[in-house]
Amino acid sequence: MSLHTLSVAELVTGLAAKKFSAVELTEHFLARIGLMNEALNAYITVTPERALADARRADAARSAGQAVLLTGLPLAHKDIFCTDGVRTTCGSKMLGEFVAPYDATIVERLQAAGTVTLGKTNMDEFAMGSSNETSYFGPVRNPWDLAKVPGGSSGGSAAAVAARLAPVATGTDTGGSIRQPAALVGISGIKPTYGRVSRYGMIAFASSLDQAGVMAASAADCAYLLQAMAGFDPRDSTSVNAPVPNYVAELTTPLQGLRIGVVREFFGPGLETATGALVQAAIEQYRALGATIVDVSCPNLPLSVPTYYVVAPAECSSNLSRFDGVRFGYRCQEPRDLMDLYKRSRGEGFGDEVKRRIMTGTYVLSAGYYDAYYLQAQKVRNLISAEFKHAFTQADLLIGPTSPTTAFDIGSKVDDPITMYLNDIYTIGANLAGLPAMSIPCGFSQNLPVGLQLLGPHFSESRILSAAHGYQSVTDFHQRVPAAYV
């Protein structure tokens, strides 16, 4: 039995039956990280002492009859979540030495659910990127082919789960940062409805788009984690106070009669032929499972990328103004005066892509340009959102590819921001409208994984997870592990 290929359900059952202890399980993953992380660069910080202390506590709780849902389950957190007493870098030189003074709500909740923290995963700087190449701590490599990117911005969490250096990991998704890397490394990842999971303690990029979620091998594994993470948090002013369904129990909801809408605009020019064919095959699989397939259209969806590249930089320029070199974060050497301190601390502390987005945002919000760019983008955002709403009168879920291509070569798109931005053409819509969406593996093209995307109306996570689980009950793409990491 290899502990790293077990599902969350099998791990939780195995721990409960005392087939293995939380300490043994944690040591197993720490050993794999020790052997394999250097080549992948999936973790920025590994916390072995803390992990073993967590694991010992989990075993003691189990012996005392106080075990809860996930007692003893190891996981990794994206380095965007504040972890009390542990370095939290957000992939940036700006926070290279920052030790968070408190825990993010989801970190706190997952700890209360009994999990063991293995470490903090690599990411694009401040979650701005689709390839994990903007990280100050170096690119992450795709476990299926080390010359390829793992996607981004949650590239470290994606690679860690794909290589089984963690059974599950947290991620965040502002424009596709959970779903696109999940697709590129062949794992499952869910971005919940905006407001479903607390953003407290999650370093802000674009506050009206950011949402925390889960990356794991399967939809069932995601359900276990989301169960522990979701729910109202008074410390996040946009957290929604709505009951959390039992995602795990509802995984087996039948697919019979489910109306799945194929979004025409998801199959336009730019979609790789092989990727499109695998997604079509998955749609046929859903038909065979009893779903009704309908054709839907969201004509303004192709405008989601330009909309996003106004709205997200605008919000980022405002959010990142907190990094001033005074209260925390990087400060330049020997500032001449306060202006010099601000400018050089920020100029030296932020990487190129972050500076590019701050400047884009500053420009579109500046006097004389606000109406032409920002206000117009917010109106188009409303149009796109209304088109999704209309589509959900015709279908229960929507389906399409997650990413137009499979994983690309490291270095191949870094010099062309527009080409890089277009990676997120199918994922951004869900963020603009605040919808839950998920990527699951649906096959391989030239030995690289291809992702299938499912989207639903607000608060339909359970329906998405059960639809993904239904597909994964008759396919095994989600169980494939790259040869070097079996």
Partner: protein, 96 residues
Amino acid sequence: MSLTRKDVEGIAHLARLEISEAQLPVYVESLSKILSFVEQLNAAQTTGVEPMAHPLAGEAQRLRPDEVTEQDQHVKYQANAVSVAAGLYVVPKVIE
């Protein structure tokens, strides 16, 4: 939209970012490209459409009771600052 070097210097100043001489032309080019790219939004018919600032439109902003919920932890928080004296953040002299 094509930006000039002076435009980018102005934006960088507003954003409080020091941009090196060598990097300026790179930003002139990429920011111009991005602005041209997002200008396709002008083609969308948005007459009478409300701007959308929040994905869950209609959710009222919640208020909380005006009660003290945080304890004073300034020593812990200031441990992340580069320069602190007597509980205050130290910066270069502002008024001569």
